[in-house]
Symmetry: C2
Subunit: 600 residues, 2 copies
């Protein structure tokens, strides 16, 4: 039942009609990434994900990662699959050619990420963190650090990790206390404990490059006193060969709700001596600013997890609904049980999943598209505008896609009835796995504060208002045939969203009024953006059908795109109107009761 | 962290001001249940739940139920706690005095159920099923069956089960194929397999009384050919002593997402010989009708699970939010981390939980109140009206409370950040446990169809419309001070709900148009009823504060009740407006695409 088929046609539709890959391949940096090459790459990635990785998902969950003498053992199947991953160079897709990468757009790399995450989310986390490490070193590492670490990280021969969190420093990264003491030889000695370190220790690579936030002895308090260090698991000799084992180890693993095969480690630095040996990255006290370099990409990567797991669970629910027979649907032959997909309520659940997934995917791809243009567009004005757009879309991609990731995997479970609650069916694992994504890489509450506190104020609000005005123009320019069923609901939702946006600006002097509505505002905003992107796709599908140019997609497929967008516009998008009350309520009721009044 | 405090004051407030216990204690049947006696009973139940049962929750989950040689072993702690449960007579609270029960209103018994379920949902399921068995036998058993089985079930000395589901017969109960063959001695031989049988086998009692749906050889097809049988695990001799072991056994246990300590059994009847010995209950082919006797009570019991688990998870989240410090809230002292409860977004999460739980609890208690009046009111007109009300509220209680049970435990997990994802914290278990409730005892999709298909048509629609008109009257009669902040949003939500109700009636000739909107309609309906009940409580609290009569509750508590109702009215209730689109969209988009168009 729980097989996975990469949604290649859905993806190709987005890349052609919603977030055009052609916008990127016209740029000098991506001139080599022609559509045929990309299509072949994605097909190959899809095959690898479906055939090699997907079958490891259930067994990896059951086996889990285990702390053993000398380190952490990942599930047996992971080693074989990881070798294939490295051999094929799947970790290198988005990295620059000079570091051994494929120099493809992030947009393309993210499709590969989506497929691999759908196949096995726990497995995908190692490579995700490695990518983050590469980014940081690319932007802030010295030439020597680049040469020593980056090619092996790009190839996947070595893995990377991010060591940020400590017990007292979660969302509040500024509270980090891990210490770094400078040595005469220019290195540093790192001492402290980090928690929740994904793939902090494992048996997939010869070396692990830990990127660690710590404080120098003279560091000012808070986020301004945090520096970034490289702490390799095994020290690297001048000639690039592996030397002594560094004083860093996983001292325990968390027993988690899901992603059992991903080792979540408590890491101890310098427990056996004077500290783990580290190298400073860039300048002292610049750690927080440096982390922001990879923030958009990392958060978008987590948003994609929501899309990926929801897609996997949806495919399973759809297959089950076609096979499972119960009751008789209205109009069906008497005396024969109908496949449950024929029941209206089951269809509603499936369409809700499908439409939401397509909206989330389009949002995440639009976000990657903006990041690609921000980094590679020819003119600086475009780069600046696209960077702002990416900054705006990132909290939406991360929070909305991961909240929906949980809701939609839960809906997929519901389609299965009692079978869904039985672990062997596999769909419950998707819910368990999906549940981490609203938490890590900045909780979804933090994303909402980022949206209202940092992103809305861009250009005194003009940027966001201009973006919403663009969405309105697009809604008004939909083909006549879609104006009523899609354009109408979209315009009404935009009215509501713009009203809420104005309200938030009017209350900007009272941070708690704005923060009180941040989470429902983020949801409303993302719901509208998702609807706009689906409408854009529907318009393209409609035009193609109208012109009889259905080649490559087929009329049935294009017709479904229109229906899915209409379903979303009529049934899901109006939820925005139900959020207005919560967005504009302000802080009053929240603070009218104290915690003691809320206790039993 | 994960301690449990029975919300005695919240419960007492509902029983005094929202779903008055006094309406029941005025009746002859309940004259003995005076408020002081009830208060003492509930306090004792709360203490038992908190002190004896609640500590078994985590360890029960970790240990789980296991299939062993000769049967099923429940977690060690269960045997001790179950003995105490039987000794105190907690299972007898709602049953009639002539069967050894306490003859208390269901309203009171449900409070006890709520406390025990909050303490340990897996443990609570055994007694829940036993109660269902008692109901069935009370209503349909022969005098001899009553004498043989009921007193021991009421006391808890023996346990009961419900054996309905088979692989091909889940929601579609009419597809049952288990066979019952009459014998010359008046007994029957039962052969077949049942799945998902909660507490189908265990080590807590000497005997287990299985109630089994099966078909007689001459049975017509479908639901009209199903009969109900008693199949005891151990046959009972004439003198009431235990005799031979019957041919019924658990052949495997499901490995589930949650409620690990509750054995979910595959039951085999008659595998070792000519069939398990059974007794017919009532007349042949009456099984389905008989099951309906206990349907409202059983479904309400499951709805209460949503309330109970959400309450337990909420208490844990609130405690964590007061203890955990991260970041600095606006206006807080610089350089000191604030308890996260001071952050607006965390307050929003906590208030959402608290307000929703209070609304769900009020709904479930209102449902019990209606059932009590339906069974015990003096005049037949009241009984009939209250039966209809209970029938209407039951799908709301079951589906809404269990959907919210999942959403709110997930929100409680979110409050914990990374800690929430770690199993040792305990809050993830609440989400895992809560996830079954939208599935069993009629999936929530089935509840929605019940609402629109069976309940809306009562009296040609006049009953539901009259009920909504009553809610409107109440909204309009709120005290002046609450008219704007609570009465206004409530009236607007009622407008929307009445509009949707009219739409459903107008489309009643097209079942799929009605079914397509059933789930969002149920949600909207329950959201409004919940808001009405909170408003009723707020009005009482307001009047008490106004009159300075805060005795027993305290001004802080009453003030919080007003705030919570206002928060709900302003922030949660408006979600109804976001559901109108989905309720009134009809079947068009659902059936405009075939399953093959939805596949990747």
């Amino acid at each position: 039942m729980d097989t996975y088929r990469p949604p290649l046609r859905d993806v190709r539709f987005v890349l052609e009609h919603v977030t055009p890959l052609a916008d990127l391949t016209g740029l000098e940096d991506f001139a080599h990434a022609d559509p045929d090459l990309v299509a072949g790459l994605l097909e190959e990635a899809g095959r690898f994900a479906a055939e090699a990785i997907a079958p490891t998902n259930r067994e990896g969950d059951a086996e889990g990662a285990r702390l053993v003498e000398g380190g952490v053992r990942t599930p047996e199947s992971f080693q074989r699959v990881y070798e294939q991953y490295v051999a094929a160079g799947w970790g290198a897709v988005q990295h620059p050619a000079e570091h051994g990468g494929g120099a493809f757009p992030l947009l393309v790399a993210n499709v590969v990420k989506e497929f691999i995450t759908s196949a096995n989310m726990a497995f995908s986390l190692g490579p995700l963190l490695t990518t983050g490490a590469v980014y940081l070193l690319q932007h802030h590492g010295s030439e020597e650090q680049l040469q020593t670490y980056v090619p092996k990280l790009v190839s996947g021969e070595w893995a990377g990790t991010m060591n940020l969190t400590e017990p007292q420093a979660g969302s509040d990264v500024g509270a980090v206390t891990t210490r770094a003491v400078p040595q005469d030889d220019g290195t540093y000695r790192i001492t402290g404990q980090k928690i929740y370190i994904t793939f902090g220790e494992h048996d997939l690579t010869d070396n692990i490059v830990h990127l660690v936030l710590a404080r120098l002895p003279d560091a000012p308090p808070g986020t301004k006193g945090i520096s970034l260090f490289i702490v390799p698991k095994v020290l690297v000799e001048q000639d690039g060969s592996l030397g002594e084992r560094n004083d860093v180890e996983a001292v325990s693993l968390e027993h988690k709700l899901g992603i059992h095969a991903s080792p979540t480690c408590v890491m101890a630095f310098g427990e056996r001596g004077e500290g783990a040996v580290g190298e400073l990255v860039g300048e002292p006290h610049e750690g927080m600013r440096q982390m922001f370099t990879m923030m958009n990409d990392a958060r978008l990567g987590v948003g994609l997890q929501g899309v990926a797991i929801a897609e996997r669970a949806y495919q399973q629910a759809l297959a089950y609904a076609q096979e499972r027979r119960q009751g008789r649907a209205p109009g069906a032959e008497p005396g024969v049980q109908s496949p449950i997909v024929e029941h209206a309520d089951v269809r509603r659940m499936l369409l809700t999943q499908k439409a939401s997934i397509e909206a989330m995917r389009a949002l995440c791809y639009a976000n990657a598209h903006a990041l690609d243009l921000a980094h590679h567009a020819d003119d600086p004005v475009t780069r600046e505008q696209q960077q702002k757009l990416a900054d705006l879309l990132t909290p939406l991609s991360k929070a909305w896609s991961t909240d929906l990731g949980v809701e939609l995997t839960s809906l997929a479970l519901q389609v299965h009835g009692g079978m869904g609650y039985v672990e062997e069916t596999g769909v419950a694992q998707h819910l368990r796995d999906a549940r981490i994504a609203p938490i890590y890489e900045g909780t979804n509450g933090i994303q909402a504060l980022d949206l209202v506190g940092r992103k809305l104020p861009y250009d005194g609000g003009a940027f966001v208002k201009g973006y919403l005005a663009d969405l309105r123009d697009q809604a008004e320019q939909l083909p006549e045939a879609l104006a009523g069923s899609i354009g109408g609901p979209l315009t009404e939702a935009l009215d509501a969203l713009e009203g809420c946006t104005d309200w938030l600006f009017e209350h900007r002097e009272e941070p708690n009024d704005v923060f009180a509505g941040a989470t429902p505002y983020l949801r409303a905003f993302a719901t509208v953006v998702g609807g706009s992107l689906l409408a854009k796709g529907a318009a393209a599908a409609h035009r193609a059908l109208d012109a009889g140019e259905t080649d490559g997609f087929g009329a049935d497929f294009l017709q479904a795109k229109v229906t899915i967008a209409r379903f979303y516009a009529r049934q899901l998008l109006p939820s925005v109107h139900g959020l207005v009350g919560a967005i504009t309520a302000g802080q009053e009721d929240l603070y009218a009761v104290g915690p003691e009044q809320l206790a039993p």
